[in-house]
Symmetry: C2
């Protein structure tokens, strides 16, 4: 088995187990068993359990950050060229659409969705820091753009509204399988419908 194969098998297994059981609740033994590799392979290929988590993050987050940053630059550029402020909905779409497209649309990354949702508020400081460092730059970019889109709001207000928005988005990423929290009523919505509802919810909320 080639080096790349083993690493990929480990990452795949780790992604699922980290997402479902959490980082700390997942043992290297369960990862390597699921991946069909030897226990020592993780430390050989990645160095440590924590470095493995970082590899899982990077695999999806690095490309996603590229896309989000690109779209946000596009929105900012268009606004600057036309000498007007960026549209609130445009700004939010440039961040949310790529995020949820990756997280919700693709069945393959369904597990990664939960991992991201929980990493925002993981009880473990290590996990939180690792994740936040990966997305900090793009979050700052989003905040700057929102300040331009909402010139009548103070930066402090925009900051809190951004927190509300992140909370709303992050929470639905955490939901397990068919989310039957309030009866079974949530199920009869498509992913796109949910995303449109979320964007609408946040736009109206931020305009307030």
């Amino acid at each position: 088995m080639s080096q790349a194969e083993t690493k990929i098998k480990i990452i795949r297994a780790a992604e699922e187990l980290f997402a479902v059981n959490g980082f700390h609740h997942t043992s290297l033994r369960s990862i390597t068993a699921k991946a069909g590799v030897n226990l020592a392979a993780v430390n050989y290929h990645f160095g440590s359990k924590e470095a493995l988590l970082e590899a899982v993050f990077d695999q999806h987050l690095l490309p996603l950050n590229e896309i989000r940053a690109g779209r946000m630059r596009g929105v900012a550029g268009q606004a600057a060229k036309n000498r007007r402020k960026p549209q609130l909905e445009e700004v939010l779409r440039s961040f949310i659409e790529p995020t949820l497209a990756l997280m919700l649309r693709d069945a393959e990354t369904g597990h990664f969705r939960m991992l991201v949702g929980r990493s925002l508020t993981d009880p473990d400081e290590t996990v939180r820091r690792l994740f936040l460092d990966k997305v900090n730059a793009v979050l700052q970019q989003l905040f700057q753009l929102l300040c331009l889109a909402l010139p009548q709001s103070s930066p402090a207000s925009v900051a809190w509204k951004t927190h509300f928005a992140m909370g709303a988005m992050g929470h639905i990423l955490c939901l397990q399988g068919p989310a039957a929290f309030f009866g079974a009523v949530e199920e009869d919505k498509s992913v796109d419908e949910i995303m449109e509802m979320l964007i609408n919810f946040i736009v109206r909320g931020m305009e307030a």
Copy 2:
């Protein structure tokens, strides 16, 4: 030392450590060390670590649930008496105000705030279930009331909007200390200002 004293000292120490480090990252040894009691005291007085977590939840959640349920019944009763639908903002206030009043106002329970915020999406199924079982009834009550307040929305839509709202509220409960995420701009807001912003955000979002 009386039995009650020891139990209270353990609960206090556990509340803080569970909130800051998470349930699984907190060892019984660190709890008993902080509380100044013997290691075996937890299992003697509570039976298990999990039962201790439940005791921490109950101490704050049982009274809080009473208050929330009472206020929501009040709103529902007034609406029924006047033969009109309940006001959306009234409904949300009856749930959010008691919650945030307990969580944010009281410095003593600042730790419990984080514990609640994280329990909603804790990676550990045990913690999540334990918490959700404690708040499930009042969440269902909230959902029913929101359906009445938003008759033009389908139950499925209301369910998702409720998820968004819970996410926004839960997320700000998780924030650590002075939340300096986007510069240091979040700090110059009082707790009441934040709560009003949050209610406003959710009301507008749900009306959409």
